[in-house]
Amino acid sequence: MSERTLDLWAGLLIVLAGLIGLLYLIPNYIGNGFGFGLSPRFFPYACVGTITALGALLCINRLCSRVDARRIDFSRRHLGRLLLLTGLMAGSLALIQWLGYLAGAALLVATFMLAMGERRPSRILPTATLWPLALWLLFKFALGAPLD
C-alpha cells in the first residue's frame, strides 16, 4: 500500500477519534476545576484539539499532494498476523487471569513459538514449561514478589 493512502486513512481515523474525545470523552470524564488557573480540562482539550487539527491537516495534505512518496510493506497478510499475535496474547492473559500465571505463561510461549514457525515439540515443550517456571520461581522465592 502506498504511504499516501495509509496516511489518509490514519488521518481520518485520528480526526474521528479526536472529535469523540473533544465532544464526549473530555466533558464527561474530566471534572471541572475549582475555578482558578487552568482547569483540569485545559491540557486534555489542548492535546486532543492539536491532534484533531493536525489529523485534518494530514488528510488535506495527502489529498492535495499527487506524489506517491513511498510504499509501505503492509498487506492483508500482515494485518492477519498482527491480529493473530494480538489474539494469542489476549488469550494467554485471560488464562493468567483465571487459571494463574504458569498456565497462561506456558500458553503464551508455546503459541508464539508456533506462530513464529517453530514446529518441533522437542523445542516447544521444554521452552514453554521451563522458562515460565524459571520466572515464577525467581520472582516468588528469590525476589519476594510473587506473581499470583
Binding site: G31, F34, F36, L99, G100, G144, A145, P146
Partner: protein
C-alpha cells in the same frame, strides 16, 4: 490436542491436571486465616518516608502472622487511588491498606469519589502526622501575625500537594481579607524546594519539614493539628488562633468493610503489635519525627467518623456545584 476417540485415560489425565491446578490456587477459610500471603496497599509512591514506614510495618506483620505481606504501591491523589482499590477488594482479611486518614474521611466530602468513609473497617494507626503551616526561613515574615500583615498587602501563594486544606485557608482568606492563591504541588519535597527557592510564600507540610527546622531553612508559622506540634512547641495551633478546625491526622491501616469479626480482631491485634514494634517506632519517631501513636480499632474508627462528620458539615453550607 485430544484425539477424537478420547479414552477415559485422557479424561482422567485432564481431570488430574485441573485438580492439580486447582490445588495450586489456595483457598481461604476464615478459621485457617491467614492461609496465604497478605497484600498491603500503600497510598504513597515508593521511596518516601511513608512508604518506608509501611514496608517496615509489613515486615513486622509478616513475622507476627507467619505469612508474607507483599507491599504494593498504589500512589495517586494523596491516597485516593489506594482507597478506591481497597474499597473494591474482598473483605477476607488478605488485603489491607495504609494511607493518611484524610483519604478516608476528608476527601469523600471534598470531591466526588467512588467510595465513602463507611466502606472500610479501620484497624489501627501508625504514627501521627505533624501538619504545619510553613514558610521559608528567608521569607519577609516569621510569625502568624507578620504573615497576615504581609498577606493583606501582597496576597499569598499557598502550596499544597492535596486539596484537603483548602477549607481552612479559604476561611483565613475570608476573615483576614487576604487573597490566597492555591498552587498545586507534587509532593512534600516539592513544597520544601519551592519554598526555599522563593517561588511560593507559604505551604502545608505533613511533617517532612522537620528536617529543615534546625538550620532555619524552613520556619513553622502555626500547627494545623488540633494541638501544638512536638517539634515546634512555641508555635500556636490553628484553634488557638480562632479557627474551629484542626487537621490532626494519622497514617491509618484499614480493610474493606465487612471483615469477619474473628479475622478483624486477630488482624488488628497483629497490626497494633507491628506498629508498636521498636523498629517501626524508631523510624517514625526518630527518623521521621512522627510521634508513634497507635490506636485501637474503636479509637481510630471513632476518630475517622468524627472527622468525616466535621468535613461534611463544613462542605454542606457552602457546597459549590462543580
Amino acid at each position: 490436542m485430544v484425539p477424537a476417540r478420547a479414552p477415559t485415560l485422557t479424561h482422567r489425565l485432564v481431570l488430574a491436571m485441573l485438580l492439580l491446578l486447582g490445588a495450586l490456587m489456595p483457598a481461604a477459610h476464615a478459621t485457617s486465616w491467614p492461609a496465604k500471603p497478605l497484600n498491603l496497599l500503600v497510598g504513597f509512591s515508593p521511596g518516601g518516608g511513608a512508604d518506608t514506614l509501611a514496608r517496615l510495618v509489613a515486615r513486622q506483620l509478616s513475622m507476627e502472622l507467619g505469612q508474607p505481606v507483599t507491599v504494593r504501591n498504589v500512589a495517586g491523589g494523596g491516597g485516593i487511588v489506594m482507597a478506591t482499590t481497597l474499597s473494591q477488594a474482598e473483605p477476607d482479611g488478605y488485603t489491607i491498606g495504609l494511607g493518611a486518614n484524610s483519604a478516608f474521611d476528608g476527601m469523600p466530602a471534598i470531591t466526588p469519589l467512588r467510595y465513602q468513609t463507611d466502606d472500610f473497617d479501620y484497624l489501627t494507626t501508625v504514627s501521627q502526622l505533624q501538619n504545619a503551616l510553613i514558610a521559608s526561613g528567608n521569607a519577609p515574615f516569621g510569625t502568624w501575625d507578620e504573615m497576615l500583615a504581609y498577606g493583606r498587602e501582597h496576597g499569598l501563594s499557598y502550596g499544597s500537594p492535596s486539596p484537603i486544606t483548602r477549607d481552612v485557608l479559604n476561611l483565613i482568606a475570608e476573615r483576614e481579607g487576604i487573597r490566597i492563591r492555591f498552587i498545586p504541588m507534587r509532593g512534600g519535597m516539592d513544597v520544601i524546594n519551592s519554598l526555599i527557592g522563593g517561588h511560593i510564600d507559604i505551604a502545608w507540610s505533613a511533617g517532612v519539614h522537620q528536617a529543615f527546622l534546625r538550620d532555619g531553612k524552613i520556619r513553622v508559622l502555626a500547627s494545623l493539628n488540633e494541638e501544638r506540634l512536638r517539634a515546634s512547641p512555641g508555635k500556636p495551633a490553628i484553634q488557638e488562633l480562632g479557627y474551629p478546625m484542626g487537621y490532626s491526622s494519622y497514617f491509618v491501616l484499614a480493610a474493606p468493610a465487612g471483615l469477619p469479626a474473628e479475622i478483624k480482631q486477630r488482624l488488628s491485634a497483629a497490626l497494633v503489635k507491628a506498629s508498636q514494634s521498636p523498629r517501626v517506632a524508631q523510624l517514625a519517631e526518630q527518623r521521621m519525627g512522627f510521634p508513634n501513636v497507635v490506636m485501637t480499632p474503636d479509637e481510630i474508627t471513632r476518630f475517622v467518623q468524627r472527622t468525616a462528620e466535621g468535613y461534611r458539615r463544613q462542605a454542606a453550607p457552602d457546597s459549590t456545584a462543580n
